[in-house]
Symmetry: C2
Subunit: 321 residues, 2 copies
């Protein structure tokens, strides 16, 4: 067996509220192995780092690599993250993290340079470096899953904002959304219509067994599939989500003048949502001409961004050494 | 008389839809003279440059300066402006400019380096360098006059957007604003409630001589003054404008995570609007904690920004020579 050179591999990690995903990649960013585990009931920072240790060991063993093969690790966290200090400032109630020094925990555990950022920001990096936004210096990545968030790239770099909270688009107030102020850790006005839970609840509030063969507890993806099959009830929910999303994109484009929006996340990549939103946005093309395209990396966007961040981290630390 | 050193003065210009304003400033940015003229009926690019020639000559004569005293000139234009190429891409219907090479026209006319930018962007520069946002690297300047626009400063620099159109906040869709798509050069949804003409039309649609001593054709400033005197009708219009403005600020802050918003423009500096908007924004402080303050430069914000841009232009051209 040819021995790989020392420290030529990196780990990218996607820490989700319910699942931890890892990828081992070489110096060119090619994925050599994947590993994932449920984080339900084990979502404290120490538990997550312990799970990552187990996953990294498994990945290295599977690739027949010695334990000193890593040059860096990078992780995306589902919350507001200070990318400079490496501290996760706050996640949603699902994990409940507050001021977790994640980068330091990772560097201590793995003995290599580490970086952390918000998971949606990492997905934006992924699309920028290897996905739908390659070569585009100004674009917005929209992650639509249970919640809704944005990763903003301006002049080729992530825009984090004064307190690392940029891209909180899920709380945007647009016509048709609730105006009631929401508490921290509660879903936002836009999420209540465009996010996965919001789509389900819009469906449930309209559901009647006379109007559809789909059950009342259908998922957002099932509802959108149903809309593509021309069910009027599902189409109504799709239209509402698409119009609300189009308004949020319109507002963001007015403000930033970004020419490209990339739709990602488990719900964002559904073709019915992307196509319908694009049509509605086109009604306002006199003012906004932004292009709207689906993610090229799909569920791998976050992990891909984490790999590129890890590669940058390895290079930067090497240059400083 | 002491002869000033050659080329130690700059001209800052604010080209408005109805008025042209000039300031002569020394190398420290201190204003040494002002001049203004109506542009009504003379708003073509050649007419404006001709007016500027007359104004500059008058200013130099009044300051007893020779004609070669200028080192640079900078102008703000009321429309989408490519600050790199110096071309005014489009102004509103009031002036109707399309692709005017303003920087080139100014350099030819005055024989000194010139720069141009959008007028609201220059006001943001003014507040950043010498006004309410000194030392703040991320903030948004909101100009509220006849229309509504934003100048966005990120990491200490103006954000212009892919096609130089960033900050078109006057068209933002928020709850309560009209959802009807608007044509180019027509007022936007937000302007219809928050802008000067919008405030007047909201007033007129509610006006009855039984409800107020103020005439039906009152100005926005008069209406807001009337609200401060506790007239319920004027307070209703003020509340509507303030709530709509607060929603736009909230949306912008969610997206950019800017900690500071500076309110300027003839209507934006009215204390009733700033105070009421701040109270409404505070209802959402669980999510957005942006500070809202009035412009420190008032009507001089654009002109001050133009002076600083001219000083930068003189220095840059000197460094390149």
């Amino acid at each position: 067996m040819t021995q790989e050179p020392h420290g030529q591999f990196v780990i990218g990690a996607d820490i989700g509220a319910t699942r931890l995903r890892l990828a081992l990649a070489d110096g060119e960013g090619s994925i050599k192995g994947r590993w994932s585990a449920s984080t339900v009931g084990a979502d404290g920072a120490a538990s997550i780092v312990g799970l990552m240790r187990a996953g990294v060991d498994t990945l290295l063993r599977a690739a027949s690599l010695p334990s000193d093969s890593l040059s860096a690790i990078a992780a995306g966290a589902p919350g507001i993250t200070n990318a400079d200090s490496g501290v996760v400032i706050a996640t949603s109630y699902l994990m409940g993290w507050r001021d977790v020094p994640l980068r330091q925990l990772l560097e201590t555990e793995f003995g290599v340079p580490a970086s952390v950022d918000n998971d949606v920001n990492l997905a934006a990096i992924g699309e920028h470096r290897a996905g739908a936004a390659q070569g585009i210096s100004d674009f917005v990545f929209l992650a639509i899953g249970t919640g809704v968030g944005a990763g903003i790239v301006l002049n080729g770099r992530l825009h984090h904002g004064t307190n690392w909270g940029a891209g909180e688009i899920g709380y945007m107030l647009v016509p048709g959304a609730s105006e009631a102020p929401v508490e921290r850790s509660k879903p936002g006005a836009l999420e209540g219509i465009v996010g996965g839970e919001g789509i389900k609840s819009q469906w449930q509030s309209r559901w009647s067994e006379k109007l559809t063969t789909l059950p009342r507890d259908a998922t957002a993806t099932q509802i959108f599939d149903h809309a593509l099959q021309s069910n009027p009830l599902a189409q109504e929910v799709l239209q509402l989500a698409s119009r609300t999303l189009a308004y949020a994109i319109y507002n963001t484009s007015l403000m930033l003048n970004s020419s490209l929006f990339v739709l990602g996340g488990t719900i964002g990549i559904h073709p019915a949502l992307c196509d319908t939103t694009r049509l509605i946005l086109h009604e306002r093309s006199a003012r906004v001409q932004s292009e709207l395209i689906p993610s090229a990396l799909g569920a791998d966007a976050q992990l891909t961004g984490a790999i590129f961040l890890a590669l940058d981290t390895a290079t930067r630390k090497l240059a400083l050494a």
